[in-house]
């Protein structure tokens, strides 16, 4: 038995899945003031009459971090940057609490300017006086050499006993200093409160006699043991869309290209599965105003939904972006797409006469019949959604590439399926699919697709290995790991072997070793370093991933 719980905007859903079937579902209204409580209530409803000892795994998809950030309830953080030469740190929008330290590391990880320790001491005492307890320290190219970050961290910890200090290289080994800075700051800003949540949750589950391992769903559609997730709380952001995409993966044909449409009251979310693989945001998620390194699915939101206000502006029909209230047929103040659907018989909800009245108002301005007006409203909604889908495919096609073969091979993909989840999906998905020349799929369990997605998602992880054979060094930044290579002419194959070995170690540490067989090399590059006319060494980069996927138990 696999349990999945998903905290949504209006309801918190829970499912039990067994042997490829949905065994039981439950839901409670979401209480945004107490997410913990409503997750437990949904769970209690779900397991009523179920032998909890048969539960093998529980996965939580929660908006706790999303809400904390959206509501500005994160802890204040002092961000200490070691930018070295290059951009002016003021050109990055990283907030007010930024201090600049002196020192520089270059792209090869060489120290080009020593860390000025006096300056660190001075900044640290200033932070103490201001009462900062959470500190992020991020150096440019700190992922290639973390000596400055470590030293600065040591000084700051000494000056601020008990403060939480997070170092940039532990958060991401990828290039992009401002994103690393933002991600590190968010990590330390949410860690303590998140830890409180995981502690309570673990205790509450124990009290209920649930001894199965508990996982949390991340933005990349992967799961992570609850106790390990405290190392990277920000990765649990946007788990809602991730859950719905994983749910669709589970509920639609494998290996195909699908568009996922989640039509809600005021917004419609779009995501893509390309040849069976969910599309990731190319460089990382945008969290509020901050660009981060958090791996997340690419989701496009448009302000249109069942409750969007229908207006006539300059003789033209417009739907959204605002919501004035529920649909007229549901007792709301004005015309909405839901009223149009009711008039056209696409849905049975709401009062038919009220819906008719809503469309009559629109029709009188347009000089047509209520039915025709309803048709036009639906066409407008469908056209908006279709054009956003096309824009999303186009954006994917236009992602920059840096090698000839990448530019030559990039194929054009057509959507094979349009899959709908969310309340507004069933009536509209066939219309969108028709325009796209694709098959419409509204899965049987669409309303609880998110919870199913959480229940059946498998773990994911990423390992970034950087090797510089001239400097005789390999680095896995996130692990703080540095080793000797001892092979000036290391081949990409050898580098990939090393990456696999290191991945196994990391997977063991994260408690997901059972899935390490699924790891793939997703990126591998090698450059000969030529100095004068001979080869001085090699630079190799390998990225290995356990990608998002569905547990074999579901497909079985």
């Amino acid at each position: 038995m696999l349990v999945g719980i998903d905290v949504g905007g209006t309801t918190t859903d829970a499912v039990i899945v067994e042997g490829g079937r949905v065994l039981k579902t439950a839901y409670v209204p979401t209480d945004h003031e107490n997410l913990m409580n409503c997750m437990l209530r949904a769970l209690d409803d779900l397991v009523k009459g179920i032998d909890t000892s048969r539960i093998e795994r529980v996965v939580l998809s929660t908006t706790i971090i999303t809400n904390m950030i959206a509501e500005g309830k994160t802890d204040p953080v002092a961000l200490l940057l070691i930018p070295g030469p290059g951009a002016n740190p003021k050109d990055y929008s990283l907030g007010e609490n930024v201090w600049v330290l002196d020192g520089a590391i270059d792209f090869r990880g060489r120290e080009t300017e020593g860390l000025k320790e006096d300056r660190v001491v001075e900044v640290a005492s200033g932070l103490a006086a201001k009462g900062f307890r959470k500190i992020a320290i991020v150096g440019k190219f700190g992922q290639r050499n973390h000596a400055h970050e470590l030293k600065a961290g040591e000084i700051v910890s000494g000056a601020l006993p008990g403060a939480e200090v997070e170092l940039g290289h532990r958060v991401s080994g990828q290039l992009n200093f401002p994103r690393r800075a933002a991600t590190t700051a968010l990590t330390v800003a949410t860690k303590e409160q998140y830890r409180r949540f995981t502690d309570h949750m673990a205790k509450a589950l124990k009290e209920r006699g649930i001894r199965a391992p508990v996982y949390i769903l991340k933005a990349d559609g992967g799961t992570l043991p609850l106790d390990k997730s405290v190392e990277m709380p920000v990765e649990t952001i946007f788990s809602g869309p991730a859950a719905s995409i994983m749910g669709v993966m589970a509920l639609s044909p494998a290996g195909q290209t699908s568009v996922i449409i989640d039509i809600g009251g005021t917004t419609t979310d779009l995501a893509l599965i390309l040849s069976g693989k969910p599309l990731l945001a190319s460089k990382g998620a945008k969290v509020g105003d901050l660009l981060t390194h958090v791996r997340a699915f690419a989701v496009r939101s448009l302000a249109i939904g069942g409750d969007s206000a229908v207006r006539i502006a300059d003789g033209h029909l417009a739907v959204g972006p605002h919501r004035v209230g529920p649909a007229l047929c549901m007792g709301g103040p004005g015309a909405t797409p839901t009223d149009a659907m009711r008039v056209l018989g696409m849905t049975k909800i709401g009062d038919e006469a009220k819906a008719e009245e809503a469309m009559r108002g629109v029709a009188s301005i347009l000089g047509t019949t209520p039915r025709d007006a309803a048709q036009k409203v639906i066409e407008t909604v469908v056209d908006r959604i279709v054009s956003e889908i096309r824009a999303m495919f186009h954006e994917w096609e236009q992602e920059p590439a840096y090698r000839i073969w990448e530019i030559m091979k990039k194929e054009k993909l057509q959507a094979q399926n349009v899959v709908g989840v969310g309340g507004g999906a069933p009536p509209l998905v066939p219309l969108v699919a028709e325009k796209m020349g694709a098959r419409a799929i509204v899965p049987e369990h669409a309303p609880v697709a998110n919870a199913i997605g959480a229940a059946v998602a498998r773990p994911t992880m990423t390992l970034n290995l950087h090797i510089d054979t001239e400097r005789d060094e390999y680095i896995v930044a996130e692990e703080g790991l540095v080793g000797k290579v001892g092979d000036r002419k290391m081949t990409p194959e050898k580098a990939e072997q090393l990456a696999r070995k290191l991945l196994l170690e990391r997977a063991a540490h994260l408690g997901i070793i059972d899935y390490a067989d699924e790891a793939q090399v997703t990126y591998s590059e090698v450059f000969n370093m030529v100095r004068g006319w001979s080869t001085a060494g090699r630079l190799l980069d390998v990225r290995m991933e356990i990608p998002a996927g569905i547990l074999p138990e579901w497909r079985a």
Binding site: P85, F141, I404
Partner: protein
């Protein structure tokens, strides 16, 4: 140059990480690796001032609009060349559509040593990215007057050759003195064809010239001339090998010097040319140029070993540069009289002979060029070209080019020239480049087949 300067800076980064002339050649995979590391780590692509574009492939026709490729375009370009050239076109389109206010094609392979006729690779270049962009901009968007400022340390002899007779393209190249560096040309007496005298200006600089010397040339010569010329567009062949650490040249220009140059010049579009100090210069120079184009603060960009005041120019060097600048100012002032004088001495045709050496491919080419001095248009041009490799003839070609706005008499004569040489076994290939109608054809005299672009 009262152009509106709002909007984003377009950037195409195409490092061609899977293309090299040979494994240890300066033009190899690794060239822009550290530049990638630096600009990605800086997060420049994420800034709201910058928009990154994906390159497209240039079409064969875009190349044929500029070059006579022997035997044909397909034989002279690889996919890498088409992507590098296509990058410039993508940015040109984005600028014309108003999506960006300026753009930088940070791409390889480079192009400014490629001349009008192409038998192979010379100076690491096969086709001229800058010239392909210029002709595209003129054909598609109707620009009339264009200024190219070539800031590579090597003389931009390919671009010079292509625009030699064109009074509407101002080509200014400053570079290390040709007596001390490849390609050995670019002296002040190379000023353009008789109808376009002083629209080609060369500023040879002594080895060791510093920021001070280059900015003197910019402030005293280049910027005032641009103001006089009033171009629709200012384009920059942005070589980065004037840098004090470049292994192939001997100048002393810094990353700050490059960024400031870009800010003052304020080019509409920049195209990367050379620059081979891949670790010590390129990451910093490129960061500085991108920032300057995007109006960002570049004052924090600095090479690790640079200290302000590190390089001081001798007084003798300063005097030499001042002398060259003064000489060129005089040439520029007399430009109309120079053209008048030259045309007065000419009959119906202007002719010149040239020898061209392709250092990369070891080819020797000899050319006889003729341009009709026509009262009604820019006049058609013919080039008889023969290329040798070692002691054997490689290829020979007869090239005919019709200018934009060609008069009917030139059109007729050019057509006759082409037809006369079709079947003429002295030449392997015959070409007719019709820039007025934007059609390009070639004929293979050995296989008797015609090809159109």
């Amino acid at each position: 140059m009262a152009r509106s300067k709002t909007g984003k800076t377009g950037l195409i980064f195409f490092p061609a990480f899977d293309w090299a002339i040979s494994p240890t050649h300066p033009e190899r995979e690794e060239r822009l690796l550290y530049t990638r590391d630096q600009i990605f780590e800086e997060g420049l692509m994420d800034l709201p001032q910058i928009e990154e574009y994906k390159p497209r492939l240039a079409e064969m026709k875009d190349v044929a609009r500029v070059h006579f490729c022997v035997p044909d375009v397909e034989a002279q370009v690889t996919e890498a060349h088409l992507i590098a050239a296509g990058s410039t076109l993508t940015l040109a389109d984005a600028m014309e559509k108003g999506e960006i206010r300026n753009g930088f094609a940070l791409v390889r392979p480079p192009g400014h040593h490629s001349m009008r006729v192409v038998h192979g690779n010379r100076g690491f270049c096969n086709v001229n990215n800058m010239a392909i962009m210029v002709e595209y901009l003129r054909t598609k968007y109707g620009h009339k007057r264009i200024a190219i400022v070539d800031t590579d340390v090597h003389h931009g002899d390919g671009s010079q050759d292509i625009f030699w007779h064109d009074p509407n393209v101002l080509f200014i190249s400053f570079h290390q003195d040709g007596r001390t560096l490849y390609p050995g040309s670019g002296f002040t007496n190379e000023m353009g064809g008789p109808q376009a005298l002083a629209r080609t200006l060369n500023v040879p600089l002594p080895p060791g010239t510093t920021d001070e010397g280059i900015h003197y040339v910019l402030d005293e010569l280049v910027l005032p001339i641009l103001k006089d010329f009033q171009p629709d567009l200012v384009l920059n062949s942005a070589g980065q090998d004037n840098h004090y650490t470049d292994p192939l040249a001997n100048m002393r220009f810094s990353a700050q010097g490059y960024a400031l140059l870009n800010e003052k010049l304020s080019p509409d579009l920049c195209v990367l040319e050379g620059g081979y100090a891949i670790e010590s210069a390129l990451p910093y120079v490129n960061t500085g140029i991108i920032q300057a184009m995007a109006g960002l603060d570049y004052s924090h960009v600095r090479e690790p070993d640079f200290v302000p005041g590190r390089f001081v120019q001798s007084q003798e060097m300063t005097r030499e540069i001042e002398g060259t600048v003064q000489h060129l100012q005089e040439i520029w002032e007399e430009r109309d009289a120079l053209v008048e004088g030259a045309l007065a001495e000419l009959g119906d045709f202007y002719r010149r002979r040239k020898r061209i050496f392709y250092d990369t491919d070891m080819i020797n080419e000899s050319q006889e060029e003729a341009v009709r001095i026509c009262p009604d248009c820019a006049g058609y041009m013919t080039i008889a070209s023969s290329a040798q490799r070692g002691y054997g003839i490689l290829n020979s070609a007869y090239c005919v080019s019709l200018p934009r706005g060609a008069c009917s008499s030139c059109r007729e004569d050019a057509r006759e020239e082409y037809e006369e040489h079709v079947g003429d076994r002295k030449f392997g290939y015959v070409y007719l480049q019709d820039k007025d109608r934007d059609t390009f054809r070639s004929f293979n005299n050995m296989t008797r087949t015609q090809k159109n672009y």
